[in-house]
Structure formats: C-alpha cells, structure tokens
C-alpha cells in the first residue's frame, strides 16, 4: 500500500464563539479564544492520499494536481483570512481546529480521484493538532 502526505502552510485569524451564546458562556467554553477581536495562527495542514501507483507516470496522483486543488479550494479561501467573517462556512460553524480540518477534508476529498483522501492533520500550534482519518472502507 502506498500513501503520500503533502504539507501546506497558511495563516488565518479566528474567534471561537457562538453567536447564539452569551459572552459569558462563550468565555466559559472557549476561554481566551473567545476574545471578539480575534487572534491568529500559522496553520500547517498535512493531507494524506492513498492509491494505486500508475506504472506509466510513477505517481499516485499526477504531480501538481493536489497542489492546484489545495490552492484553489483551501488556501485561496483560508490563507490570510479572518475565518469567522471571510469564509461563509465558518459563519455557521465555530472555526475550531476540528471544524477547520473537517472543512478542509470536505473541500479536498472529492477532487483527488483516482486516489483517495485518507487523512487530514491540522497543526494549529506546536502543542495542538487535530487529525481526521478516513475509514478504510470509505473508498
């Protein structure tokens, strides 16, 4: 079995708070991350693909395909943005590391055929990362 993991970096600002909760409740749940002025991270995302090796090209996925996809669907949307304000999906979902990773999964998974997306790891800080692993039978 062959897997390929590619790393991308982006920076974004966010606030962890729900609009339907009081400031006190947001503060209680999300702590200092609920500061309405926002704060930012240098995010690192590692995408893992699994697939068959094409004997002619020697690749699991044509080189550049994943880069183009990630630039078009992920980095353009997230890099340099204030996620809560600038990205529609995060108007409805609190931009936690978990939700950002899930959103990246949804943005990428449909575009990597004939390979399959099997992992998204989002590193938010040196001490904090989230990993989503696809089920083995999800192909």
């Amino acid at each position: 079995m062959i897997r390929l993991t590619r790393r991308y970096d982006f920076s974004a600002a966010h606030v962890l708070a729900r609009e339907d909760w009081s400031p006190e409740r947001n503060r209680a749940v999300y702590g200092k991350c609920a500061n309405p002025a926002g704060h930012g991270h240098n995010y690192r995302v590692e995408l893992t693909l699994e697939g068959e090796l094409d004997p002619r090209s020697g690749h699991v996925l044509a080189p550049g395909r994943l880069d183009e996809l990630v630039h078009a669907r992920v980095l353009r949307e997230l890099d340099g943005r204030f996620l809560n304000r600038d990205v529609p999906w995060f108007a409805r979902h609190v931009p936690t590391a978990e939700n950002i990773a899930a959103h990246i999964w949804d943005s990428v998974a449909g575009g990597v055929a004939p390979a399959r997306l099997v992992g998204v790891r989002l590193v938010e800080t040196r001490n904090n990362s989230v990993e989503i692993l696809g089920a083995e039978d999800s192909a």
């Binding site: 079995m1 062959i2 897997r3 390929l4 790393r7 090796l53 020697g58 690749h59």
Partner: protein, 110 residues
C-alpha cells in the same frame, strides 16, 4: 537515515534532494536481548542496501532500477521497501517513509 541523490524527471531535467528515510520494523522482543532488532545490524544493512546504492548518485543514470519506469518519490519509496524487505528477516519490515522534501512524504506498507 539521510542521503542525497539526483534523478531525471519526466522532462529530462536533473533534480536532487536530501532524502530522509524512516524504516519501521515490527516483531517480537527477543527475551535475551530485550530488542526487536539490533540497531547496529539494521544500520549496517541500510548502509549496504540503501546508502551504498543511492547516496550521491543519480537514480536514473547510476542505478539499473529506473530504466523502465520513472524515478518519482512513489517509485523510489516502493523500491526501497522491496530492497529492504528482501534483505530483512521474513515479514519484519513494517513501513518505509521517504521524504524528498519537508512538504512531501511517501509511505509504503505491505
């Protein structure tokens, strides 16, 4: 293990990397030694099988492995898995991880 090598890409352009290679073995702990594998033996085996073949060489021109297939991170990682698997005790090789750059890692398992 770290080593450096070059290859010709699909357009015939010569490229090179400092490769990082991680090899994972699995097996029972030998009750006498307390080890799954003697790391000195593994190091010597990797120097013989990998470093001697590829370090400071062109994968495309100095080795026979990429005459019929392109040298890519995927095919190179698969070749390393095959070479180590043939040289190690049956079934003990669990995983090969090859990173040509910080941003790319290819992982081969059985």
């Amino acid at each position: 293990m770290d080593f450096s090598a070059s290859y010709r890409d699909a357009n015939g352009v010569t490229r090179g990397h400092n490769y990082e290679l991680e090899v994972t073995l699995s097996g029972k702990v030998d009750p006498r030694t307390g080890m799954v594998v003697d790391l000195k033996d593994l190091k010597e085996l990797m120097e013989r099988e990998i470093e001697a073949r590829f370090d400071h060489r062109s994968l495309s021109d100095d080795t026979p492995y990429f005459r019929e297939r392109p040298a890519t991170p995927e095919t190179f990682a698969q070749l390393i898995f095959e070479l180590l698997d043939a040289a190690l005790p049956d079934g003990s090789l669990h995983r090969v991880r090859l990173s040509p750059t910080r941003d790319l890692t290819v992982e081969v398992t059985r």
